[in-house]
Symmetry: C2
Subunit: 216 residues, 2 copies
């Protein structure tokens, strides 16, 4: 129930965002062209998948030639909506939230942290950062007034649902949920769940049920 109808398959989206990032790096290191096989090799996908994905978003490379890195990256940025910077915020400024607030990779990423929220005024006063910090009751207000599109949710599990609802009310578009609590929100809000303990459980099961393939 209440899933979305993606015009683009989810596996494709996940591969493409990784490809997009890799293209940024290749461009920075001066590579002008790259093959689908090379992209796949570096990221762990098959060359077939890479080509299918690119065709799915309507990119046409020249038949026989390799992909032009710059043109492909620009096309993907445009088509996937990654061309412009998006505002995002961190809710919950415990250890994990603070870590996200200071996350070094974010600077060069096309995402701008514009706010942090916590229910403890003490924390708001203690944390040293350039990001503007607000008490939790202002979530809805600030998200709306600042036009914040994305959020990382790093509060205690018991506070997750209500914080998420405040974000949704402010018009948030997507939430990365780092809590173990499943969120119930209108379908207009995209949710990605990242739960360390559950990942450890998944790994545990995988190590037993994947009497796996080839070395390297």
């Amino acid at each position: 129930m209440s899933e979305c109808k993606p015009q683009l398959p989810k596996p494709t989206i996940e591969r493409m965002t990784r490809i997009f990032h890799l293209l940024e790096e290749l461009e920075r290191s001066g590579d002008e062209t790259v093959s689908s096989g090379r992209l796949g090799e570096l990221l762990g996908f098959s060359s077939h998948s890479v080509r299918k994905d690119l065709n799915l978003i309507g990119f046409s490379g020249t038949n026989g030639a390799r992909y032009p890195v710059r043109r492909l990256r620009e096309f993907m940025a445009e088509t996937l909506g990654l061309a412009r910077s998006r505002k995002f915020c961190v809710v919950g400024l415990g250890r994990l939230g603070s870590a996200i607030l200071h996350y070094p990779f974010l600077k060069e990423s096309g995402f701008a942290i514009v706010a942090g929220f916590d229910s403890s005024v003490n924390r708001l006063e203690t944390i040293r950062t350039d990001v503007k910090l607000y008490p939790a009751y202002q979530i809805t207000e600030i998200v709306r007034s600042e036009g914040i599109e994305l959020a990382a949710l790093a509060v205690p599990g018991s506070a997750a649902q209500s914080a998420a609802e405040r974000l949704a009310e402010g018009g948030i578009r997507g939430i990365v949920n780092f809590t173990p609590a499943p969120l119930k929100l209108p379908g207009s809000v995209q949710i990605l769940n990242i739960d360390l303990v559950n990942e450890l459980r998944v790994l545990t099961v995988l190590t037993q049920f994947c009497d796996s393939g080839e070395g390297v």
Copy 2:
């Protein structure tokens, strides 16, 4: 290439670990039985998927009756290998690594943090924790001698591959990779990639290509 041949579908594994955790909570709150529909409702799955998954691991509930919470949880723990506690370690003790080291949910989770590693001796001396901390060059040695099965990798991207190789050499079974760098390791090591920036990209794309379904 180099993927595994799961005797259990990956989507099934992910649902089952969540179901397992929910069963623990239901048991704690005194519920004695639960239906597939209720489980699905709480976690966002269809009742069909829940029943199929349970049948896949060979669980047989009584036809017509609901599932007995306690018996089901015990069966899953046994079958999925979640019955005994597993040792795990944190590699890289920057803000994110420290956050994981102190992660509150881990205490009640069936996973035991038994080691932290960092290349900076200064950090090893500064961090206050009960967990034993070691310099990075001891990764292989300690993982092997302690029998550590799982690791969270939270080093800078440039150090990810070499740290991962040390873990692999020590016999690690699975790694949660929080760096943006893709890891190349023998197929005997399971890897889950969690990259905040990429999740934000995925969310961005999803908000545009999922002109989504129903409210709530």
